[in-house]
């Protein structure tokens, strides 16, 4: 199964789609194909139905969180300082938006080949977290996309029943994200001190109370 051949076949079949080979340096040799969100459903339908491919079994769908990277660079500037023009260097920090990636592992029951690994990314991790749902193409996506929505916060457009799967509906935030912070559980932490005490007081002052240190202060 040649990924290059599949790529050119897809490009011919779905005009306008943007595909990219993603090399995998691991000995597993499972390279993948990055697909663009706009053509994802058309590509998936073609992969499922094309007589030479027949990827009718979408085995595994999962999410990956890639937080934005902070890059610091030195920028040379000319500035007026105390009336004299000077060359100075300034540190500038830029943060890339990061993305949420969804990975699909496809197999073919009919032709007994696979895996074909597809990847698709959201534009960032905050506002543009939409990807098209592939549940209409492979029913196996139904629960797995709900799980990704629950744990990563990717919104799948076109999913018939997009609710949280494992956590309760009122839950905030998405625990599988790399920057997830567990909520404070002050009932579990009976003797709050230091950082926990500070956060407990912040938490309780919103509720109108204050906690005293029960540690060595007495």
């Amino acid at each position: 199964m040649n990924l290059e051949a599949i790529k050119s076949e897809l490009e011919a079949a779905v005009p306008g789609c943007r595909l990219e080979l993603v090399a995998n340096p691991s000995p597993s040799g499972q390279h993948s194909l990055r697909i663009d969100a706009a053509h994802a459903v058309a590509l998936a339908l073609y992969l499922r139905d094309a007589p030479g491919l027949r990827f009718d079994f979408c085995s595994n769908i999962t999410g990956i969180d890639w937080p934005g990277k902070q890059t610091t660079e030195k920028v040379k500037l000319r500035k007026l300082i105390d009336g004299i023009e000077q060359d100075i260097e300034e540190l500038r920090t830029t943060t890339s938006p990061g993305s949420l990636e969804v990975v699909y592992h496809l197999y073919s029951v009919k032709k007994k080949h696979g895996p074909l690994v597809l990847r698709s990314s959201t534009q960032d991790r905050d506002a543009n977290v939409h990807l098209p749902s592939l549940t209409p193409v492979w029913r196996s996506a139904e629960l797995q996309e709900r799980e990704i929505f629950d744990l990563f916060g990717v919104v799948f457009d076109g999913h018939p029943d997009l609710r949280r799967l494992l956590l309760w509906d009122e839950f905030q935030d998405h625990p599988m994200r790399r920057d997830y912070v567990e909520p404070d559980d002050f009932e579990y932490e009976p003797t709050a001190h230091d950082e926990v005490l500070r956060r407990a007081n912040q938490h309780l002052s919103e509720a109108g109370g204050k906690l005293q240190s029960q540690g060595g202060g007495r």
């Binding site: 995998n24 340096p25 691991s26 000995p27 597993s28 499972q30 009718d56 079994f57 979408c58 085995s59 595994n60 999962t62 990956i64 990975v103 592992h105 029951v109 007994k112 895996p115 690994v117 549940t135 209409p136 492979w138 029913r139 196996s140 139904e142 629960l143 797995q144 799980e147 744990l151 018939p160 029943d161 609710r163 799967l165 494992l166 956590l167 309760w168 625990p175 599988m176 997830y180």
Partner: protein, 386 residues
């Protein structure tokens, strides 16, 4: 185009009969219901005795296994995989070890492969025997089939205990091999257990296969079509009962399964009875594999000597490894960033994905059938909720 079986909004529901919408009854089966095999809830909307809608509610056992594994070393997650599907801990170990071996390119010595096949097939025997016992118990045959199954399972768990030190939480596999070699006398004991197993299967078949009550309760109940089974990612005995000829042991040729002669039983109706029969027949094939493996097992090392236990850091990359576990396709997807713990660790849980079609199978049937259908899917909540 295949979509969900029914609308989510209750006001869109159409009653099956002439009953008005006000007479639909919504009940919660579970989480503390004896037939749910743990803590699992089905919100069932009933029109009289018939199911109009069924929405499963997951997550009562959720502990975010995947997140925990990201802060654990690769080997540190191995005992935790035991707790996924706690009936078959050894196949969970195997799937995880296989994924890591693909990720890091580790070779497994010959003897270790045989040990894996032997323990893995013993796991399949006890899982299928238990499942049939549970299914019969759920349908009201109080005790006998389940106790027969547990009697056989106990013999296999005794073997696991003397080999790994634990009956259920075996923690047996290591990357590049197995943790412990066979103690003296183990192989003879295992041979006698396996030699006695067909007698149990004969007894079981005599008791159940042409039992009229069982046939009435299970035939044409919960029919899963072949097309839906493939589309919904159903794997394992459940897919094969619907006629999907897909056994990962035959398709992927992982480990040394191409050395053994065995057949893949297929069903033709896809109902509860076929799912029960496929498992019964699979046990016969497993006995055959075990006999061949125990006859041919060579001497040699049980773990790759080049494999480092401490400071194991796979090179950056990713791998998806899967095996035919007793429940279905159990896969692990790992991404390494070169550090001692995985960047991403994903379990592809067959129990959860096989539940995708639960509503499709139950709509239109009555409440008592829901119990039989759920029992025939074979779920363990430790794996569904992770």
């Amino acid at each position: 185009m295949i979509t969900a079986a029914s609308p989510t909004d209750p006001s869109e529901l159409e009653p099956l009969s002439e009953t008005s919408k006000e007479q639909l009854l919504e009940i919660a089966m579970g989480p503390q219901h004896p037939s749910t095999h743990g803590v699992f809830r089905m919100n069932v909307v009933l029109d009289g005795e018939h199911v109009v809608r069924l929405k499963p509610v997951f997550g009562y056992l959720h502990r975010n296994h995947e997140k925990i594994a990201e802060s654990e070393t690769y080997l540190g997650s191995m005992p935790y995989t035991d707790r996924l599907d706690y009936i078959c801990s050894i196949t969970n170990n195997w799937a995880y070890a296989l994924a890591v071996e693909k990720l890091a390119g580790i070779e497994v010595p010959e003897r270790a492969e045989y040990l894996r096949v032997i323990t893995g097939e013993l796991t399949r025997l006890q899982n299928h025997a238990c499942l049939i016992g549970f299914l019969m118990q759920d349908m009201g045959s109080s005790g006998t089939p389940l106790m027969y199954a547990f009697r056989e399972r106990e013999k296999i768990l005794d073997l696991f205990e003397s080999l790994t030190g634990a009956r259920m939480m075996c923690n047996y596999m290591r990357f590049g091999g197995c943790r412990a070699d066979l103690p003296s006398g183990w192989l003879d004991q295992a041979k006698s257990v396996v030699a006695g197993f067909p007698r149990f299967l004969d007894e079981y078949e005599q008791l159940l296969v042409s039992n009229e009550i069982l046939m009435d309760r299970t035939q044409q109940v919960g029919v899963l079509s072949r097309e839906l089974a493939i589309s919904a990612g159903i794997s394992g005995p459940m897919a094969r009962a619907s006629g999907v000829d897909y056994d990962i042991r035959k398709v992927d040729h992982y480990s040394i399964y191409d050395r053994f002669a065995f057949r893949v039983p297929l069903g033709s109706h896809g109902d509860v009875y076929d799912r029960f029969m496929v498992r019964l027949l699979e046990m016969r094939e497993s006995v055959g594999i075990l006999e061949q493996a125990m006859r041919d097992i060579p001497a040699g090392p049980i773990v790759d000597p080049k494999m480092k236990v401490r400071g194991f850091r796979p090179k950056p990359g990713e791998a998806y490894g899967r095996i035919e576990s007793p429940k279905g396709e159990l896969g692990f997807y790992l991404i390494s960033d070169g550090s001692p713990n995985p960047y991403r660790y994903r379990v592809r849980p067959p129990s959860l994905i096989n539940l995708t079609v639960l509503e499709d199978l139950c709509v239109g049937r009555n409440v008592a059938d829901v119990v039989a259908i759920l029992g025939s899917i074979d779920i363990v909540l430790g794996e569904v909720d992770r």
